[in-house]
Symmetry: D3
Subunit: 142 residues, 6 copies
Amino acid sequence: MSRKQHESESRLERGTRVLSEIDGVAGENVVSSLADIAPDFARYVIEFPFGDIYSRPGLDLRAREVATVAALTALGNAAPQLKVHIEAGLNVGLTREEITEVIMQMAVYAGFPAALNGLFAAKEVFACRDAANEPSGQEHAA
Amino acid sequence: MSRKQHESESRLERGTRVLSEIDGVAGENVVSSLADIAPDFARYVIEFPFGDIYSRPGLDLRAREVATVAALTALGNAAPQLKVHIEAGLNVGLTREEITEVIMQMAVYAGFPAALNGLFAAKEVFACRDAANEPSGQEHAA
Amino acid sequence: MSRKQHESESRLERGTRVLSEIDGVAGENVVSSLADIAPDFARYVIEFPFGDIYSRPGLDLRAREVATVAALTALGNAAPQLKVHIEAGLNVGLTREEITEVIMQMAVYAGFPAALNGLFAAKEVFACRDAANEPSGQEHAA
Amino acid sequence: MSRKQHESESRLERGTRVLSEIDGVAGENVVSSLADIAPDFARYVIEFPFGDIYSRPGLDLRAREVATVAALTALGNAAPQLKVHIEAGLNVGLTREEITEVIMQMAVYAGFPAALNGLFAAKEVFACRDAANEPSGQEHAA
Amino acid sequence: MSRKQHESESRLERGTRVLSEIDGVAGENVVSSLADIAPDFARYVIEFPFGDIYSRPGLDLRAREVATVAALTALGNAAPQLKVHIEAGLNVGLTREEITEVIMQMAVYAGFPAALNGLFAAKEVFACRDAANEPSGQEHAA
Amino acid sequence: MSRKQHESESRLERGTRVLSEIDGVAGENVVSSLADIAPDFARYVIEFPFGDIYSRPGLDLRAREVATVAALTALGNAAPQLKVHIEAGLNVGLTREEITEVIMQMAVYAGFPAALNGLFAAKEVFACRDAANEPSGQEHAA
């Protein structure tokens, strides 16, 4: 519902809103890490991917994160961003099992090493969450 | 339902069944095109991707095709297989709009040329289907 | 001069203006080819790459086209877009020799096949221009 | 034996000699196709890959062509060069079966689409040779 | 001889046997590292690559490792798997010189950075083996 | 001026001269790091890229480094070499702003993750230079 495109909202506002729904902490980290070298790019990262693309109504966020985890696993050269989107996938309601299935499937399209390295990235993200979420270890504890 | 793993079924039988649900014609084309050069590989193409991976219960076929269309668009070097899976996505219930959204999103992760070439592939597949499905042009005409 | 960011201009207006300076025909072709499948993406293609990036003052258009021809040659999976940017490079003042040098250099970073395929793309673009510009064959005939 | 590095030979002479042992026709085609756009690059293509690398004594030409066919299949974005090296592999003594095995193996490291497209390239090369070598169809007919 | 496909053997048994001939320790590491996240994938890693592909009779294991080291060097995005296969290459009888030649050759097909990073990976593997095999430092000490 | 190709100079001498103009320290590091594993390759790294390509008169070194930084950012799998060429770009007269612009532009052609990882590499190089050049922090202090 919150992805609805409010008429009065700027792309930056919309992007910030959608990104915070997906992964607010990662978004803030990217913005702050770019502040001293390419502050405009921090804005672009929010405006185009999140203000323009992820906020479009034609595909739900779960499917969008399936697509992104698949692509980043297959490309195999952007480990930090893959971890952010494994986290994001969990945030928008994908289960660990679903994310693991997406990554395993990439063995078919990008080879076993890409899938293995994707699984090791997922294992790291899951372990971090378990450490942070103790004692429950559940993504969406009631 | 038909993806359920029957105990008595071989991987080849299961893969053939799942592949025929996704895209029987494309599957038969691959098998026949490999018959004179690598017949064992035709079997592997059915057994591992479809008998092992796509038939797993942890992710539905719609999400699997989202993942595959995303990865093949992002990799950008397998146009024939991308077209097969755009077709397959329609076959398992994705709408043209959803497939178009997945491909557009790849501009974020693999650049605009990859997304553009993916959209042109989709345009070709959609046009073929329209030509074949006249006069209705609908994916799932009643 | 025309890349200056006019305050009152929208991103789409600015992008259209910059794109027409670089390669108006190619821009129009992309927009019209996307009209029936992804019209919003046609707008994004103008807004982000040309309205946001190419219009930035920190790097001149000749250097921007050097960068783009280099990247597309190295990636090796986007031949149509490489040709557009070889054309664009000539339009913004690069010589055929400079473009050829950029492409040859990619042998070092992406291998000889990528450089060879880039040179063959350049050869095609140059031949098209020669055919169109007869009898002069000069990029910037007075 | 002919790969031995003769002291008095230039890199270009040595490269030409080794290339003609591997695939003289393809070599001549590349040189002539570059003559009007990048003649120096035609020289580099012979000097570094063939004069420096393929002529080194530490690995035989059969193993070198196994490596090249594997890499070009896996990269998946240089179909013309892959065909040249499938041809070259046959010329230096690899069998069709061995080349097919190398390409199939790439499914493990670069995914099934890369392997499939490699097999289709091989099929084309084998068919051309059969057409040219009728009635024998043998690579090394006595 | 041990790669012969025994009729009564399962793919998992055959894969385990072939993998242990190539690199038993690395195989066990992959299996145990996947145990808590994707145990089925650990099985697939053994079954398809090793039970189906490496165990095929049409290409010897030395040539198979030449192909794999070449592909992983060229792709350049799977350093851990490249190291495993440099190790595996030594295990099946390739010399350090032969492996170094394969990697150097990739400069031609994937660029100098890919070859350099491959050589640094090899250097690390060789140093580890030297440290482990002291005082002899020989791969196949009698 | 110093890139002029002296008749009497060998490729190795010319490459060493050009490389030292671009980045002498990095060149020496590569040579010494290859000394024990592939000393011939250390020579090739100087001869072909620097003795043959960078020393060609048709493109100035600033444009050559724009091309290289663009390609390595887009490929996204050679971080050490990207850092060397960001450094090299500064050495031949590109400003930090120009390098940052080139990297940002790669978001268009290779996706946002590639551009982000390129920016983080640049940030590291700039910080190292600031630490080394204190108190001035200027690339070309008078």
